[in-house]
Subunit: 180 residues, 2 copies
């Protein structure tokens, strides 16, 4: 995985949403962006350091009683500019989304049909649960950020999640039928 480095831009973006610590960014990612992105601490902390070095954000150490200092990050002018530049940069590659279910299905002639049907049913359940989660996030956004200019765009991404997941569920049903 050479070259990409979307992490940097993800973090610059998160800095515009009120997140000020690495921990908050991870939380935000896992609650509100988890339908299309993820990030690990192993990326967050080194990238934050790098971002400060590049002058795209500033840090302030806030000592805590006993606990490790909170490092509060704030986006600079340069950081905002960098974010905007990335936003308007053209989409290059669009890599395929790897899908373990399809990888297994591709080789499924090597197992009984029943087993294949079973795991498609299981997959469908997972997707259904995911759909519910998305509805939960939707409420969260609508409650917490009615005033935010972000809300419209956040809801667009959720819409994507909902529509695509619904399509996946339909495909599951189709395929189970064809196998039965």
């Amino acid at each position: 995985m050479a070259k990409t480095n979307h992490t940097k831009y993800a973090i610059l973006g998160l800095l515009t949403t009120g997140c000020r610590t690495g921990y908050q960014m991870k939380q935000m990612m896992d609650t509100s962006l988890n339908h299309f992105w993820k990030i690990s601490y192993g990326q967050i902390y080194p990238t934050l350091k790098q971002i400060v070095e590049e002058g795209l954000a500033t840090v302030q150490d806030i000592p805590q009683d006993g606990k490790p200092d909170i490092k509060e990050y704030l986006l600079t002018e340069a950081g905002e500019k960098e974010l905007r530049q990335w936003l308007s940069s053209p989409l290059e590659n669009i890599p395929v989304a790897k899908n373990e279910v399809l990888l297994k299905l591709f080789f499924s002639r090597h197992q009984p049909k029943e087993t294949t049907i079973e795991y498609l049913v299981h997959y469908q359940e997972i997707l259904q649960a995911r759909l519910h989660t998305y509805e939960g996030i939707e409420e969260l956004i609508q409650i917490h950020s009615i005033e935010k200019a972000d809300a419209q765009y956040w809801l667009f991404t959720l819409d994507y999640g909902k529509q695509i997941t619904a399509a996946e569920i339909m495909w599951c049903k189709d395929t189970i039928n064809k196998l039965s």
Copy 2:
């Protein structure tokens, strides 16, 4: 990315489809599985070595005139068993599919609506092209492997690609409309 190692199973699977060299596997992946998986030489060759060490495949060196030897791999009984075991193992995680378009959209209040619309239009074009590619692959499968037991499953995965891509295109249209 600790833990997963789907690469090993992808390769075991490819060995059941007539692929005998690393090069052929890469080709197969890039033509017939590229709508849901990808693999690099940096994964293929070390994994092939490992698979042989584990007794899941055998190698035979076929000397070429001047060119590097062809290493022909064949699945063993143990390899087939390992593949079947993986096929029937439960789906655990199902990681999110990371989507750069959505990441940008999430932060798009920081740019003019026109720019956002532009890249959604561009994305839609990419998806449309992808849909055509899938139809091409479909033909390829139908021509080359009418007799193969694999064909049915391969077409299921393509169906997935087609249905999900169609849903994505619809979402693009929707979202462009909402922004206009």
